[in-house]
């Protein structure tokens, strides 16, 4: 029996005893059930499976530690009002913020961070990782890491622009519909129903094959497809605000529609809209990745995570994990954004206990 296994069990059992002694029921239950599971897994899978569990736990601990440190960092750096909000944020939200910030930095400073150019062929196809290329090469011999970094700029940039367009379109329409009401409301509502009745991916494919694929058209099409959801939410939220007495007071004062929307309605509907923004961003992101995977999104040689998955997909059958890196990049960002959105939803719902 190696020292590792002895140490592993000693640590787990010792920690569970400590937790039990200090009456931390939850912690104790987790630790001790982990011990029991480890017995079974250890017998079936041997020492390597225990190593795997240890690595997972270490990764989790590292992520938690990073999130904690990042949150403390934000509390100190940000101005007082924001830092108060961040102070109460759960670790998951801090983790999400950290990941988003990392992606943002990677996207903005891509040319500096990436060791090679986006479309630069530097080695043979599917070359394994070496000291030059930490993740190896893709199907044309381009550095995978450099393309991942550039992909952050292209994919995320496109998704962000498209989401912002969808929001401008949907939110302005929704607020106008709620404020003006009557036939305008009906017209917008039915228009949106028509757009929503077509499945989004098929609609996007249809439009893209009609108008051709370039970035501007892609952005417009995605904005049109996603604006209806934003419209519905905004109209519902604004509908609740419009009936308040302060809106009536402003109307009786003779204020115009634009003032009503900007100064009276918008400040009272920002929280749900921001949360919705995060969610929509994830959907748009996945749609862009999906379109790229089908070959109708961002065109080569521009680096993009969706098409990177497709181009390297053949490697999977050889037991290589290379195609999983761009997929993991997509997954991680989606999870991170959702963590942050959950936190914002929690804050806007006002449930504090």
């Amino acid at each position: 029996m190696s020292y590792f296994i002895v140490g592993y069990y000693a640590l787990l059992i010792g920690a569970s005893c400590l937790a039990a002694f200090y009456q931390k029921r939850g912690v104790f239950l987790i630790l001790f059930s982990l011990t029991l599971i480890s017995f079974i897994v250890g017998i079936v899978g041997g020492e390597s499976s225990l190593w795997f569990i240890t690595l997972c736990a270490a990764a989790l601990a590292l992520a938690a530690g990073t999130s904690f440190a990042f949150r403390e960092f934000l509390v100190i750096v940000l101005p007082t009002e924001l830092s108060k909000a961040v102070k109460t944020a759960p670790l998951t939200a801090a983790f999400g913020l950290f990941v988003i910030m990392t992606y943002a930095i990677a996207g903005v400073f891509a040319p500096i961070i990436a060791p090679f150019g986006e479309a630069e062929v530097i080695s043979s196809a599917f070359a394994p990782a070496d000291e030059n290329m930490i993740l190896g090469a893709d199907q044309l011999g381009r550095d995978l890491f450099s393309r991942l970094v550039y992909g952050a700029r292209n994919t995320v940039g496109l998704a962000l622009t498209a989401t912002i367009c969808a929001f401008l379109l949907g939110a302005v329409g929704g607020m106008l519909a709620a404020t003006i009401g009557g036939w305008f409301d009906q017209f917008m509502g039915r228009l949106v129903d028509v757009i929503m009745s077509v499945p989004s991916l098929i609609f996007a494919l249809l439009l893209l094959s009609i108008f051709g694929t370039n970035v501007a058209i892609l952005v417009i099409i995605i904005a049109v497809i996603y604006a209806p959801r934003v419209f519905r939410l905004t109209r519902a939220v604004a509908g609740n605000v419009v009936v308040m007495d302060y809106i009536e007071a402003a109307r009786l004062r003779g204020e115009g529609t634009f003032y009503l929307i900007r100064r009276e309605i918008l400040p009272n509907s920002t929280a749900p809209l921001i949360a919705e923004f995060g969610l929509e961003f994830c959907f748009v992101f996945l749609l862009v990745a999906g379109l790229s995977f089908l070959g109708l999104g961002i065109q080569p040689p521009t680096a993009d995570w969706g098409s990177m998955v497709r181009e390297n997909a053949t490697l999977i059958s050889f037991g290589e994990i290379t195609p999983l890196f761009p997929a993991a990049a997509i997954a991680l960002l989606t999870v991170a954004v959702n963590f942050v959105v959950d936190w914002m939803l929690y804050r806007s719902s006002g449930l504090k206990s």
Partner: protein
Amino acid sequence: MKQDQDVLLQIEDLRIEGYSDEKWIEIVHGVDLTLKRGQVMGLIGESGAGKSTIGLAAMGFARDGCRISGGSIEFDGMELTTTSESDRRALRGSRIAYVAQSAAASFNPAHKLIDQHTEAPVHYRIRKRMESQEDAMQLYERLRLPNPQEIGFRYPHQVSGGQLQRAMTAMAMACRPDLIIFDEPTTALDVTTQIEVLAAIRDIVDQFNTAAIYITHDLAVVAQMSDVIKVLLKGNEVEEADTETMLKSPKEDYTKSLWAVRSFQRDEKKRPENTQPIMSVQNVDAAYGPVKVLQDVSFDVYPGMTVAVVGESGSGKSTTARCITGLLPPTSGKIVANGMELPPSYKQRTKDQLRQAQMIYQMADTALNPKVRICDIIGRPAAFYGGLKGTKLKSRVDELLDLIELEPSKYYHRYPPELSGGQKQRIGIARALAAEPSFIICDEVTSALDQLVAEGILKLLDRLQRELNLAYMFITHDLATVRSIADEVVVMKEGRVVEQGPKGEMFTPPHHPYTDLLLSSVPEMDPNWLTTVLEERGVDNIGEAANV
């Protein structure tokens, strides 16, 4: 009536803490309370006095964000602070019942009244479902609900507010509890409806010899209902005495100040001669779709005068206000301001016409945008109508804040949720004043406020009227308010003006029968008032009294 004089509920040194700003703050500081079987105790005090918190604590319950931190609560020999949650749960509903302020919000709108009524007795296996339904019908009859056999099979939205509150009381009685806690059961009701509910509650509590804690901020109501009165202030007991003594000779200054609230009164002003009315409503009819809500409404408001429009809910008071402001264009008739006919819809009116007539709302919470700073709320009308900017605007806002007796430097940058109810209402007044109007519609401005605070608002409005020569249209269902501030009174019922005239005339007989009903329904401080009124009207027709 009360043979059984042993102690039912004994609360000693009760301390309750609330959680705010990440720490626990004590909100009830050691209150003692002793309640005998069959006794009714009135708990009074302004909002934040801890009335409801103590009422809930009597069931061993603390609402979210609160905890009972000390003292003992003994109910019929059982210590509620130490018994298990499941034991306490078994008590609630069966031996202790709770009647909430808003029956409409407390009933589940998706179930019939009688199904909700039978839930507790069936759950506690006190009665079978059919027995319990029979019992419910009997209780409905005792509470003088119309059609007691049938009313239980309606849904909550199909009965009126007063009936719902009585059904709620019947439901509380379903398990024949030893103790009922009434938390402001009539505050949301009209005077005419309130009187029915009060009589019903008093009768049934008497008949079953149930002990009750009656929480309210209305002294006249508590005088009718309770044997003993306890006055609370900021989580402390001020004094306790039986009702007679408390009303005749209160000891503490605070209690005296509560008693004095209703004394604010202003002499009636005469119509100024040789002037035209500042706002004149002429033969106005109005409708919501096909439903006619106003018929031939006419009255005049002269500069510097207050016209009070009274009537129960649904009588068309607020609709008249909507017609004047142009939110609901009248189907026929005219709104004339200063001799000039106003366009029917606010959209067609000029900026100056809009400026002339301002409005103060009932619920200051919804009337002020919670996301806008006080300086912008008050500053906007001044900037919008007067074109003020920069330092001129700031000094105008400061001036307005001074006018409503709020310190400018302290409140200038705050947001509405940081203010108390009375302060919010003052901001609402300042917003109306910022437009420099000559006519202000006050829509139930004091009904959501405590008496002391409401008194302050009324005095402020009165002072502003004298200083700025404002005309008020004062919509209210509270006749005490009318008595204190009005010059002329318009009584409305079912969309028509029933009677109108100067205040002095209106408050002296002979009255129109409806005015008479309204006037006689206002609770008075005399503990025998309810009994006398009921005798005069003949107890049996109390259910119909409001439909005269």
